[in-house]
Amino acid sequence: MLPDITALDLARMQFAFTVSFHIIFPVFSIGLASYLAVLNGLHLWTGKAVYLDLFNYWKKIFAVAFGMGVVSGIVMSYQFGTNWSVFSDKTGPVLGPLMGYEVLSAFFLEAGFLGVMLFGRIRVGERLHFFATLMVAAGTFMSAFWILSVNSWMQTPAGYGMNAEGQFIVESWWAVIFNPSFPYRLVHMVLAAYLTTAFVVGGVGALHLLHDRNNQGARLMFSMAMWMAVVVAPLQIGAGDAHGINTLEHQPAKVMAMEGHYDSHPDGAPLILFGIPNPTEKRIDYAVQIPYASSLILKHDPTAPLAGLDTIDDALEPPVAILFWTFRLMVGIGFAMLGLGVWSLIARYRRELYNAPWLYRAAILMGPSGFVAVLAGWITTEVGRQPYTVYGLLTTAQSASSIDAAAVGTSLVAFIVVYFTLFSAGLFYIFRLMNKPPHPGEPGLPVDEPVRAGGIMPAPAMDADGDGLLNDQGARA
């Protein structure tokens, strides 16, 4: 056995593992739900069949991803209690109602209208069906709103007091919900969800354009995705910058670790592009840096002083090596996304958007990059808040349940085995759906039956509608 690993370590690993797996699905469904609403709306407005084809194409993928998001999310709502019971007891009066609002205003909305969105188009008519799609999209957004408010409060607590039992209590709900880092985190995360989805959609469109330049559905999805890259990537870089400045104000140690600033720089800090953090010597080896640039970015003044980790108690120092790398990974991907967007703009200007194999190859390569950036970003912000769960007020070590390491270890292994098995299968099915080109008459739903079959699974049985295209979907072949 590994005697050094404590129940606390195992509980942290379990949380990191389950939340990392979970976040992939909501990020994708926030973006995709909005995309589906847009497609549905455009179809309603223009009457063009291609929008409905794309709606039906992405709807099948949405259903699989959403299902995995639901079940991995239920795990999260119980894990606070099982592994972090002291945290739950202390923060319940503040965070519980926010999560309660998430369930009431978001989860039910999504789940309640999902059935109609997936299976009910013909049953309820096009307008109500569009309304159902809008409600699903609104639900995903509201879910992001509340859960990010919860997370932000843990990062930058505000509006609270303490009671005799040692619980946090609320003095101002407004201050709790709209705590100092929340607006920045919300914008940064929602844009991240949109970008991530845009690059998945763009990657899939590019894949099919590589094989057939004339596929109208593939053209449309690729074009829409590249517009998103052009518009949203720069917005996201701006939002990230603002978020960073906000973090510097409220969690300076996190920014010091992200920047790799072990030492204070009274006359302007350099921006370290690359290097190898050396935690024992407390320096960055082989640093490649731009003088004054860090002060310029964070303070908008090249010679502004920036404090380093030498001003922070060692016990309160977040793990520099992790933050240093994950932060650079996230930023690097952000700029690569911007680059691809610019490339597509040039191709569009030259009227070569639909004849650009190297652009397609790059877009395919960048397809999953949003997920990597999101995970890297979350690791940066969550690891950067250590050693606290509620920043400056409650440490991670104080938050845990007193559970046997054996119990936590066993459940951790069970989660790893089950998640890898089941979610690998899910990803495999999603990839298989994405690997099929969109085509006119994309099977929608078994029109008048609440049957999963036609909508989600292009079953041979559904060929009854005679478009003759169902079998080449091959889903059940």
């Binding site: 639901v70 209690g81 002291v86 007891d89 519980g96 009431l104 989860f107 619980q167 119990a407 049957v451």
Partner: protein
């Protein structure tokens, strides 16, 4: 006028848990019965009868857990570690059955695997929920503000029995739901299964009801003490009435009344548990008022609940209405 917010919230959380039990009860039940009906087309029909509504049904479980965290954080932080193993097993089992809803349609070669995952996940989730309930009923050891028992305290003959009882009870809900929503072969099988599951469920409700007062003198006082007995006595009488309607409906081959009568058995059993527990939320030591969050947390969320819960019930009902009537088998398209 001052409202007793903890009491109101105890009622709301109880309602959420009850809504979960009856709604996910029948769709878990359909999963439990999966191996008992042969033929992939028939299994398609069974799964389709719950496909549009299952994730809405499971959202009530999130509300139960999330709501407990919000309004009774102390109870949440004591109960979850106490029921660690059954809760984790339930969550994993729900993952198995949840993904099966989508994955089953994506493959023909691997379909039997997802049939199995759906049945296995549904059965294990039901069993774990029953065990968790039994472990809660038999009482949880508390010191200060934390669980003070061991990691196997939940495992007793009583909790294993309640686990088995819930599996059988959900199977009955599932069977009577299928009677309502399907035709031909699946419906005939559902009648046969319901004929077995109905008396078995009733017997198990009887055993649990007789066993519970012996677990703790508090329960005995609640049920047999004066004047509590006046409040308690209608419950077993109504159970008998529901049992009569259930068996009558089944023998007369009615389609709706067996499902409604089964639901009513669940509601009454739940009320029975409520009578046993009150005023505790963690038997036998933490009351609703001990565990409640401060009033301003309760009232803040109550405003939302008063507005949103009726809305939720409204559009949930709408969704059931949209998908009303019999589910046709996929095979029926040929």
């Amino acid at each position: 006028m001052t409202l007793d917010l903890p009491l109101i919230w105890a009622g709301l959380i109880a309602f959420a848990v009850l809504a979960y039990v009856v709604l996910d009860g029948f769709d878990l039940g359909v999963g439990i019965l999966f191996p008992l009906v042969q033929g992939e087309a028939n299994k398609d029909e069974m799964m389709n009868s719950v496909a549009p509504v299952w994730d809405g049904n499971e959202t009530w479980l999130v509300l139960g857990g999330g709501g407990l965290f919000a309004v009774f954080p102390l109870a949440y932080s004591i109960i979850m570690p106490a029921l660690y193993a059954p809760i984790i097993i339930m969550l994993l089992a729900l993952v198995f059955r949840g993904v099966a809803f989508e994955f089953r349609w994506k493959t023909r070669r691997g379909q039997f695997l997802w049939d199995w995952a759906f049945a296995f996940g549904s059965t294990v989730a039901a069993f774990a929920q029953g065990v968790a309930l039994g472990a809660l009923v038999q009482g949880i050891k508390v010191e200060g503000r934390a669980y003070a028992g061991g990691w196997w305290d939940w495992l007793t003959p009583f909790s294993l029995f309640t686990g088995a009882a819930l599996v059988v009870g959900y199977a009955l809900l599932g069977a009577t739901w299928l009677i309502l929503k399907t035709e031909d072969h699946v419906q005939r099988r559902a009648y046969t299964i319901a004929f077995w599951a109905a008396p078995l469920t009733l017997a198990m409700i009887g055993v649990v009801s007789l066993w519970t007062p012996f677990l703790n003198p508090l329960y005995a006082a609640r049920w047999f003490g004066w004047p509590h007995i006046l409040l308690a006595i209608p419950v077993p009488l109504l159970v008998l009435a529901s049992a009569y309607l259930l068996l009558k409906g089944l023998t007369e081959r009615r389609e709706t009344s067996p499902f409604l009568a089964s639901l009513s058995l669940f509601v009454l059993s739940f009320i029975g548990i409520g009578i046993s527990f009150y005023p505790n939320i963690v038997p036998h030591s933490v009351t609703i008022w001990d565990a409640a969050a401060p009033d301003n947390s309760l009232s803040f969320l109550l405003v939302g609940a008063v507005v949103l819960v009726p809305l939720i019930l409204g559009y949930t009902a709408y969704s059931y209405w949209v998908f009303r009537g019999k589910v046709k088998a996929v095979g029926g398209y040929h």
